[in-house]
């Protein structure tokens, strides 16, 4: 029988290698002998097992043992072994875990890159066909819908999104109060999260966010110059000087009393120095975590990142990853959350059938109660999947999920980054290709390089401080 290696990624060590096996999303450590055998079977046409056992100088039984172990973990398999592509879904209707409420489609800023109101909005978004704010009644009904749709789940999450969320405190407060009541009555746990531009934070709302243990994400683009480039009021005045004192108040009040507070940085061209930006946000302002997101944009916008920018971005992420690894080796936590999130997935061995939970465990609610795949799709005409009164349109949901399954994306079949990427963001694909289920081919090389960076960081940390990842197990269970 002819055997050959399956697609895998190696991270060499002094005495062997860590190997990532995308078929199962396992990470294993091979000794030097196993690496030699893996090398021998790294050929497209395959090698007869008997031929290998006859040629090997290390004794037939010993060689067969190594080979068998490599076959068992799926690193080497028969050449003719095919895995029929399947786009099977979990049993439907899948219980909801997270509801994202677009409580306000208004915003008091006019960020030039905004996908909701800027040049890259989807058809239907920002056209004023719906109420600008979600009414408290719709918010309450949405919470009812979440608890009904979550069925047997013990934990549910409500995320508030906008526009600027804090323009509609009435709906947020009503929803939180109602959700906590329902959670008590149904013995579930409810978690809250909110994204805000921080312009409207005051002592009352800070106390409210802390009391209800909100996970808070603040959109901020760095120091004054980087931030004010795009994040300005309608008058054109930058918002940095308004938001930073308020953020400091929140961070001081929340320290140790709520979940880590994260900065969410939108990256545009020309790229700033991310290490300096990270240091500013964590050391100078006091954020626990910083996550970076390249702007979602059609390629012809001035602020859109181009090919060279992505090379630069990767080099800068690599520098931040070095800092992360150095901290991890000393047992400390580092707040580069893009890498933290990736390492958590790699450690768990996540193997995604879909790029994210949109339409599966998560849906977004528009201000009028219509449901979209996620917060980025609500209020657009793309992929409406029901409303809170009548529930999810299960036929549309199933059709979308089957089409978006990674096994339907031919280009993804041989990619080692498939388990963590699964084709990438639906919204990004909708903006780029006009088809949410299209794989995001424009950033494949980048995703592979980024996944590789994550794998190497994972190997370096595991090699020198194997207990580091136990903290992920505690927080994810």
């Amino acid at each position: 029988m002819k055997l050959r290696t399956r697609s895998h990624r190696r991270m060499p060590t002094r005495d062997g290698a860590f190997v990532y096996l995308p078929d199962s999303a396992s990470i294993v450590r091979l000794d030097a002998e196993a690496v030699t055998v893996l090398d021998r079977f790294e050929c497209r046409e395959g090698l007869e097992a008997a031929e290998y056992l006859a040629e090997t100088g290390r004794g037939r039984d010993a060689a067969a043992e190594v080979l068998e172990e490599l076959c068992d973990v799926g690193a080497i398999r028969p050449v003719e072994e095919v895995r029929p592509p399947s786009s099977s879904l979990p049993p439907m209707p899948f219980p909801l875990a997270t509801l994202v409420l677009n409580v306000s489609s208004r915003c008091n800023l006019s960020c030039t890159y905004c996908y909701e109101y800027g040049e890259d909005k989807l058809p239907g978004q920002g056209e004023g066909k719906r109420p600008a704010s979600m009414s408290p009644e719709t918010a309450l009904r949405s919470i009812d819908f979440l608890f009904e749709s979550a069925r047997g789940r013990r934990d549910v999450s409500v995320t508030f999104f906008g526009g600027e969320t804090l323009l509609n405190r009435e709906a947020i407060e009503a929803a939180v109060d109602h959700a906590e009541g329902l959670a008590r009555a149904t013995e579930k746990r409810v978690h809250f999260a909110l994204t805000t531009n921080a312009t409207l934070l005051d002592d009352d709302i800070i106390a409210f966010l802390i009391d209800h243990r909100f996970g808070v994400n603040i959109s901020i683009d760095g120091d004054r110059a980087s931030h004010d480039r795009h994040r300005s009021f309608k008058s054109g005045r930058g918002s940095y000087d308004t938001v930073v004192p308020k953020i400091r108040r929140l961070l001081a009040a929340a320290r140790g009393r709520t979940r880590p507070i994260g900065a969410r940085v939108t990256l545009t061209r020309p790229l700033p120095n991310l290490r300096d930006l990270y240091a500013h946000l964590t050391h100078d302002i006091g954020f626990d975590e910083v996550g970076f997101a390249p702007v979602t944009s059609a390629p012809n916008r001035d602020h859109a990142l181009l090919g060279d920018d992505y090379d630069d971005l990767l080099a800068q992420y690599s520098a931040l990853a070095d800092d992360y690894v150095a901290a991890a080796l000393e047992g400390h936590r580092h707040g580069f959350s893009n890498l933290g999130d990736l390492l958590r997935e790699l450690h768990e061995g996540v193997n995604k059938a879909h790029p994210c939970g949109a339409g599966l465990g998560l849906v977004g609610v528009a201000t009028d109660g219509e449901l979209g795949l996620c917060h980025r799709f609500v209020e657009s005409e793309a992929h409406p999947i029901g409303d809170i009164e009548n529930g999810i349109d299960e036929d549309r949901r199933r059709e979308f999920l089957e089409k978006g399954h990674v096994n339907r994306k031919i280009e993804c079949a041989t990619c080692f980054a498939r388990p963590v990427c699964a084709g990438g963001c639906y919204h990004e694909a909708e903006v780029r290709y006009g088809d949410a289920s299209h794989p995001n081919l424009h950033y494949c090389d980048w995703i592979r390089a980024w996944t590789d960076l994550g794998l190497r960081a994972y190997a370096r940390i595991t090699d020198a401080n194997p207990s580091f990842f136990q903290r992920f197990e505690r927080t994810s269970s």
Partner: protein
Amino acid sequence: MKHIQPVNRKAKRLAEWVAGSRDEVRALQDTDTPFGCTTVFAPGWEVDSGGGTHGLCQPIERDLYDCYHSCYWPAQVPDGLTNWPSWAESCGAPMNDWKNIDLVFP
């Protein structure tokens, strides 16, 4: 496993699964079964247990003995090696006598 160490959580589950499947499933040639199915080399669909093709499955009643005597074809017939060696005695010519064979009740 001696040469491979599971590292992430998925690999640990995979290693447990591999170890578990080792105990439950063993290749036929590794077991001590001296008789029956293992003595028959089954080259495939196209020949019967004797290596012939003549009259294969014609008439269908003839197939009975490939299932019963030689275990050539796995089918729901009584175990003729140990428990019901005389089950088909009343069925000398299957085309005519198949009605004579009866159910068994273990």
